[in-house]
């Protein structure tokens, strides 16, 4: 038997839409970061590569955390 979630169905739908919007914004930021880093790398500018990689890792962590929370709603 499926366990009851602490949120009603309508609430979960709102939550998933909110999380999806946040994830989309972060992914677009990462895409911009990737193109800017590639441009800097090809132009010989090395100073931005490490900070950009760190920020991208943080973004991935945020996204993974949000997905983890989403799956946690159903447990």
């Amino acid at each position: 038997m499926r366990g009851r979630s602490r949120f009603a169905r309508k609430q979960r739908m709102t939550i998933v839409m909110g999380i999806l919007s946040l994830v989309m914004i972060i992914v677009i930021l990462q895409l911009w970061l990737l193109t800017a880093s590639m441009n800097a790398y090809l132009g010989g500018d090395e100073s931005v590569l490490i900070p950009a990689a760190l920020v991208s890792l943080v973004c991935l962590g945020l996204n993974a955390g949000l997905l983890w929370y989403l799956y946690g709603l159903e447990r």
Partner: protein, 182 residues
């Protein structure tokens, strides 16, 4: 009589009651809100995987940069004799490997410049125009300054990589690449 739990209700796409649905849907009901929820959750999962791919790409750039630094100083390579290239003349050569074309231009009696021959936009070969002081990319009308390699017009945004040149005993040598001035 207790009202049914709204979370347990199966809601068809048109929102009408179960008994008003066509027979086939009564036999195989689809819970529409749950279906929407699962599809959005799966799309979120796909976007997180995209995020992972971007992060891998970012780390890949970092790794490529590490490899580029490890290669260290480029070798010194003879290009051409000074007498073989007149003022305003050009010479194409490969440096530092056999697959990277560079172009050497003699600007005046004592000034030589050499750049990568591929445009920084989409890698079309650039054509030197010493009479106007430009390097021209015919693919998308890109223009570079012949003295500095900086982009002047068109789609290119990055300068051409400049080869460091040395003149010894009437011969011109390529001795590495200069730092890009972005």
């Amino acid at each position: 009589m207790t009202s049914p739990d709204p979370d347990r209700l199966i809601v068809p796409p048109d929102g009408r009651s179960h008994s008003e649905q066509p027979r086939w849907r009564q036999d195989f009901p689809i819970d529409w809100p749950q279906d929407n929820y699962v599809s959005r959750r799966d799309f979120t999962k796909f976007m997180v995987l995209t995020s992972l791919a971007f992060t891998v790409g970012q780390v890949g750039i970092l790794f490529q940069n590490f490899l580029r630094r490890r290669r260290g100083e480029l070798p010194i390579q003879e290009v051409v004799g000074v007498a073989e290239i007149p003022v305003g003349g050009t010479h194409v050569f490969n440096y530092p490997d056999a697959h990277t074309p560079r172009i050497l231009v003699r600007l005046d009696e004592s000034t030589f410049v050499a750049y990568e021959q591929q445009c920084t936009h989409l890698a079309c070969p650039v054509i030197p125009q010493p009479e106007t002081g430009h390097l021209h990319c015919p693919c998308h009308e890109g223009l570079f300054d012949l003295r500095t390699g900086q982009p002047l017009a068109g789609p290119p945004r990055r300068p051409l990589a400049r080869v460091r040149l040395e003149v010894r005993a009437d011969k011109i040598y390529a001795a590495g690449l200069e730092e890009a001035l972005t």
